[in-house]
Symmetry: C2
Subunit: 292 residues, 2 copies
DNA sequence: CATCGAACATGCGAAAACGCATGTATGAAG
DNA sequence: CTTCATACATGCGTTTTCGCATGTTCGATG
């Protein structure tokens, strides 16, 4: 009636992943070893933790109980690792940043290049992700997020207000300017029901040609002449092939936040990266608030 | 910047024990392996956790932080093990009981013999200890304690009220009865400042011959004619060589409690042992409340 | 009905972790 | 000053753990 902490972690991974293979990936082990650890834990506890079904392992109530305890243990582990990282005063070792891919591509890349050049000892990992990574679980040390309401438990500051505009290839834009009543093709983001109200008001006859869930693809579609779209103005700076639709004003867009976990506030590496990000955004405010 | 859970446990044992050897004993490992694990953890974290001093390892602040987190993880582990044990419905496997040595020797032994005979599959471990074992850490599943105020977080019931009396070899007892004013030798428990007030009142001229911190030793001293003593009456039943001092009434003594952890209430093994202990005490109340 | 992939069992050689024996340094005790 | 105990370092052979390759079962798919 005892259990090793590593085996508790294995049970947690197994309950989370649902299969030996998935648990193995999470733990960085082969699924064979996961099976052996589960078996060893069952021996030590004197009772089965998983039912061997033809379709795979099925966790018992006991396994779920162990997994819940292990999840709380994992939170302790992550918290102490954060505190240790936060205490590190040397500009050396791993550091991770997550940001929207488009922001990296069109704005951040030169700055990051400079940062890594000036801090060769820092091993910077950039995770280009639109999803929200979990900073508490250390999926990243620092996050750049475009959001109106950034997460509560994190500390952060607003780096830049943003404006969005309406853009299209010059032919479409000129036609729309000449006759606002004429049909106007539109490329819509999948998350939105309809084109923005301001556009619908100026151009009553908007036809949605396609809905896409990926901004680069939407830009490609617009560049191919598929229609007009709404996008934050900073993207217009790197896409001269798209011009603003006349008569349509800029609209507020979600601002850009820089977020990190409290425990990491003392980290020198983090401070260094913040220290270059903040002036970079301050000195280039116009990229986010006005047209090229 | 990562750490295995087993290594966190090793850091905890190291901080607790203060030396590689002590940590090795706690973990059931050789101290060599403890040293290797510490070294591995320091490599993985990229910083030292212990200073190597001539007189041994000295934990850094980082090591203490990890140890604090590991202690909370240990609490989770122990809690889940308790819950698993509490769920066990079979009369089989390990079961541990702690009780004061004197209670076992003079009252409990026959009952425990019968219990193990009737439950051969249960591996009963009896920890004879006067100290208070930690039931939360599963140092024992069930505890018999002589106390006026048993611990809060545990569930328990009072098994017996107790009386104490004053005893000595017959010669001393008779002499004291004939002339209460005469000098009376006394054997005193180290924890007490002076003989009980009731005894001092009846016998003004009490001389403390020795103070001892161990009841069996005190009884041996009394049997050797060193003096009178106070003890719970149940001990008088198994020591006919000591007789009560006349003119002195019985006095209340701390009752006997049966305690266990909430999480273990559902355990069949525990219920079985409780089920024999309770009637055993009920049917033998007189052993604790009246003279032989 | 045949095929394919997902999920797990099993056996074997490689890698990692471990225990033991030996050696060194320090501090306490005679 | 010598002796002894404590605490740790290091090297070596053994045990345990691991990854990979192979085989089996089940269910989905065409």
């Amino acid at each position: 009636m005892k259990i090793s902490w590593d085996d508790m972690q294995t049970v947690l991974a197994m309950v989370r992943g649902g299969s030996l293979a998935a648990a193995g990936v999470e733990l960085g082990l082969s699924y064979t070893s996961v099976a052996r650890r589960i078996h060893r834990a069952e021996q030590a506890l004197g009772r089965p933790l998983f039912e061997r079904r033809p379709e795979g392992y099925q966790a018992t109530e006991e396994a779920h109980d162990i997994a819940r305890a292990a999840a709380r243990m994992e939170a302790e582990e992550q918290a102490v690792l954060r505190r240790l990282s936060g205490r590190a005063q040397d500009l050396q070792g791993p550091l991770s940043l997550t940001a929207p891919p488009l922001l990296i591509q069109s704005f951040l890349a030169p700055l990051l290049a400079e940062f890594t050049a000036q801090n060769p000892q820092v091993e910077l990992t950039v995770r280009a992700a639109n999803g929200v990574l979990d900073l508490a679980r250390r999926e990243a040390d620092l996050a750049l997020r475009i959001s109106r309401h950034p997460q509560d438990t994190l500390v952060g500051r607003k780096l830049a207000e943003q404006q969005s505009g309406f853009f299209a290839v010059p032919e479409i834009a000129e036609r729309a300017a000449l006759d606002p009543q004429a049909p106007l093709d539109w490329v819509l983001y999948s998350g939105h029901e309809a084109p923005p109200a301001a556009a619908r008001k100026s151009h009553p006859d908007i036809r949605v040609r396609a809905r896409l869930d990926d901004m680069p693809s939407m830009i490609a579609a617009a560049l191919a002449g598929m229609g007009a779209l709404r996008m934050p103005v900073f993207l217009a700076h790197s896409h001269p092939g798209l011009v603003p639709l006349p008569h349509l004003p800029l609209q507020p867009y979600a601002p850009i936040w820089l977020l990190s976990h409290r425990d990491l506030l003392g980290s020198a590496k983090l401070a260094a990266l913040k220290g270059v990000l903040e002036p970079w955004f301050r000195d280039n405010k116009h990229m986010f608030s006005s047209l090229p």
